[in-house]
């Protein structure tokens, strides 16, 4: 996809989306807002997993850091939530940088182990420090606007999602993005060509964590109640399955995955407790049999349809 085509798709899509509040009721708008949150989460996780080949299990935890940092600052010190979201994003970036520097020297497996530990520790800290975080009761936080407006939140989330997508797109289509994929494909070959493998990985992890922090901060101020559910491993699992089912390593994959799974989950929410189990089984089957997700299936089908045409054309020519 060239730059021009990217904006040719993005701009009409955004215009189309910005008409949604006129056609949708309050509940459906809520579903779209939540989907936009997951879109940001899944796309930024994909930046890390799909483009540099490292699996972080702390993506939801970084969203939680963004949410709790901004929420606690607003509740305790009366900080403006907009500034709070920026502070939360920076916090997530700093912690991401620290965790990245700490374990990425040793290779990808260490990142997965450390981030899993990190999210569990965050859960323990949040539930133990209930005077500050209100533990599992949840922290009530002020909204972004003086007067609650779902439509307002929709446009804020849409803006943030577009910003996230543009950042990710520009990053993966820059020289840095080339380095990302070089590192993913063959670490040693990349290193031999002068790519600083560790720095590339740390950069991807930091940017991805910061984007998660921003998404989490905004989401927290939308829900008005921040609970340990946001940084939980269940949430992490949802983001991961959206990316895997949509198509890891492709730009539209996580977007498709986020919308389809969030809408699907609204339908099967009626079955309550089965809901995570069903998602898990779908994700397991997808990761095993269609590792490139829905995007992989779609492009695979297209390629197969196109391939015979080409041979026919070649035959006709000769």
């Amino acid at each position: 996809m060239t730059d021009k085509r990217f904006y040719q798709v993005l701009v009409p899509a955004v215009v189309l989306f910005s008409f949604l509040p006129f056609g949708l009721g309050s509940y459906h708008l809520h579903v779209v807002i939540v989907s936009l949150f997951y879109l940001m989460m899944a796309s930024s996780w994909n930046l890390l997993a799909g483009y540099t080949g490292q699996v972080s299990f702390a993506h939801a935890a970084f969203a939680g850091i963004g949410a709790y940092a901004s929420g606690i600052l607003a509740v305790r010190f009366g900080l403006n939530p907009w500034i709070g979201v920026v502070v939360g994003t920076l916090m997530a970036a700093l912690l991401g940088l620290a965790v990245g520097v700490l374990c990425l020297r040793m290779g990808g497996i260490y990142l997965s182990l450390t981030t899993l530990g990190f999210s569990e520790i965050l859960r323990i800290i949040i539930t133990n420090e209930y005077e500050v975080t209100r533990g599992t009761m949840g922290l009530q936080v002020p909204g972004l606007f003086a007067e609650y407006s779902k439509v307002g939140y929709f446009y804020v989330m849409l803006g943030a999602a577009v910003l996230t997508l543009i950042i990710i797109y520009r990053l993966i289509h820059s020289n840095i993005g080339l380095n990302f994929r070089a590192v993913q494909n063959d670490e040693r070959a990349a290193a031999s060509l002068g790519v600083d493998v560790v720095r590339v990985r740390v950069l991807a992890f930091t940017v991805s964590s910061a984007l998660a922090g921003m998404a989490g901060g905004l989401y927290g101020h939308y829900l008005l109640l921040i609970t340990p559910e946001i940084p939980s491993l269940d949430q992490q699992f949802l983001v991961l399955s959206m990316t895997v089912i949509g198509g890891m390593g492709s730009f539209p994959g996580p977007i498709i995955g986020a919308f389809s799974l969030e809408i699907l989950s609204e339908y099967i929410r009626a079955y309550g407790e089965y809901h995570v189990l069903v998602f898990g089984l779908i994700a397991l089957v997808a990761a095993r049999f269609a590792p490139n997700g829905l995007m992989g299936l779609a492009t695979g089908r297209l390629m197969r349809r196109r391939a015979p045409e080409k041979t026919v054309a070649a035959a006709a020519k000769s």
Binding site: A49, G53, Q54, V55, F57, L102, C103, R105, M106, G107, G108, I109, Y110, S112, L113, T114, L116, G117, F118, E120, I121, I124, I125, N128, L233, D234, F237, L240, S241, V244, E273, Y274, V276, L277, G280, L281, A283, L284, A287, R288, P291
Partner: protein, 313 residues
Amino acid sequence: MERNSSRVRRLDATTGHIESPRDRKGNVMFALAVMNGLVIGVIYALAALGVSLVVGIMNVVNFAHGELYILAGYFSYLFAGALGVNFVAAMIVAVLLVFLFGLFVEWVLIRPTYGNDMYSLILTFILSIVLQNAYLLIFGPYPNKPPGWVGGATNVFGLFYYGNQRLAALAAASVVIALLFVVIKKTWFGRIIRATSQDREMAELNGVNTTRLNMLSFGLGCALAAAAGVILAPVFPVTPTAGLPVALTAFVVVVLGGMGSLWGCVLGGLILGLVENLGAAFISTGYKHLFNFIILILVLLIRPAGLFGRREA
């Protein structure tokens, strides 16, 4: 510990108690924490050995390790508790079933991902969530406990009474670890395992069927998690999410000991068990698992290859 001792002294000043009984109490508390640390440390070592074995041979980290530990606990609860089978038979059957489950998982999920470490991480993580939710549906969120093997308590060094069940768990886990070491260091199968984890290609050239070895060692890793599960379940009841802390500790033990090192696991397990229990006794119980994470960070900062790790990453 320092904070605690100063608190004790302050209490003494206010209540006017004489020093010696409190010192004795502190000693007993210390000894009790060490004892608890040993018991749980050996179990951690056992769980970590399973992880380390699989990492050494296949370069795969099984994120569902803790859930397999729980699965074995549930099996032994079902057989020994609900069906009333003899507890030794129940434990053996539970470990065997988890071993077979491990073979199945390797065959269906892990084998197609060789050469792509990332997918095995993702698949086992999804598997862990699936298993957790399946347990939640089948057994509910309540703690379940198979019946104990022995009752009563023993006086340890005249200091305190210690539950016989825990002492039996310590003994059983030590025996399993010793057996594993004999298998790995002394038998033909163990030699194949050591050869493959040292140099996979060389082992293949010498006629090792590495595909079958992968399957067996993944199953064996799961069986070790299961052994830890059946041994500890009568002491710490199983719940659907209780596997995660155990698995995380096992991962930290593996990093601390050095990826793929077996002695590292034993030493690392004991260190973590002791630190965790001393920390819980003298600093804070709520942050029990935080100590593991601090150790993990320290290892990564100071000696990322671990205690017995090979230098290359």
